[in-house]
């Protein structure tokens, strides 16, 4: 943290190298956060870059009242929300039959998809969970943020975080059941075709 604060101070004073180093520490996190929210690698790449550019412009306003990651997350999540608003869609409730996956079972891509629980989780998050629940679930369960950190990122009270997280976790599980996930039923028909060791 002391090293990060040192970089922040240097970057604020126009040290480009310090800025690059600062963002190198965060850009894997940032890209993953955007990918988990959007479910789209190209979009995640664009949003993460936009967030970095915006953070660079606003860096002088960063007062170290929260961690740098919290501040950066807030910028990135606001960009993501604006993007959703611009396209006026939430991007969820795509039926399982609409999922675009290779249909030929012998194709290598298909084998990769089958073995990827990753894919299933991203699909559930980005297509079956409303944005406000998706965000809180990702911050807590994929990035291990505390309730307080999440409330700082989202600028809401901790009670709201608890309520939304509780609903989000129920909803995520309900979607796994709807998708006949192997973890919840013997008669699974889910996308991983039951080969995963859950």
């Amino acid at each position: 943290m002391a090293f990060e604060n040192h970089l922040i101070e240097k970057a604020k004073n126009g040290d480009r190298k310090a800025f690059d180093e600062l963002f190198l520490l965060q850009h894997k996190y940032l890209f993953n956060l955007m990918y988990q929210l959007s479910g789209d690698i190209a979009k995640a790449d664009d949003l993460a870059q936009e967030a970095i550019i915006l953070a660079y412009k606003k860096l002088r306003n960063f007062r170290c009242e929260s961690s740098f990651r919290t501040w950066l997350s807030r910028i990135a999540i606001n960009l993501f929300r604006n993007e959703c608003r611009t396209k006026s869609k939430d991007g969820y409730y795509v039926g399982i039959e609409e999922i675009q996956i290779p249909s030929d079972g012998d194709r290598p891509e298909r084998v990769v998809y089958k073995s990827e629980l990753q894919w299933c989780i991203i699909h559930m998050l980005s297509h079956h969970l409303p944005k406000k629940y998706r965000i809180v679930l990702i911050l807590r369960d994929l990035h291990n943020m505390s309730y307080k950190e999440i409330s700082d990122v989202l600028k809401c009270n901790i009670g709201q975080v608890k309520t939304n997280l509780h609903r989000a976790r129920h909803m995520f599980r309900a979607e796994l059941i709807k998708g006949t996930c192997k973890a919840f039923t013997d008669n699974y028909l889910c996308i991983c075709e039951g080969i995963l060791d859950l």
Partner: protein, 62 residues
């Protein structure tokens, strides 16, 4: 606390965010109520599946 009240605490119970007193009350309820315990185990299973997700490597250096 009744079953409905207990089930509203699942998420905080999982995160160990409840006070010691309330956490004990939930644990005692589970000991007497197989139905809530079953519900909780299912709830926990969903979170554990989600937590199996692993971050991707970034596609390229900016």
């Amino acid at each position: 606390m009744n079953c409905q009240e207990i089930q509203l605490l699942f998420s905080e119970y999982f995160d160990h965010e409840l006070s010691g007193e309330v956490e004990s009350a939930v644990r005692e309820h589970f000991a007497d109520c197989p139905s809530c315990l079953h519900e909780y185990n299912n709830f926990e299973k969903g979170i554990k599946i989600l937590k199996k997700y692993k971050s991707l490597d970034i596609p390229r250096i900016y």
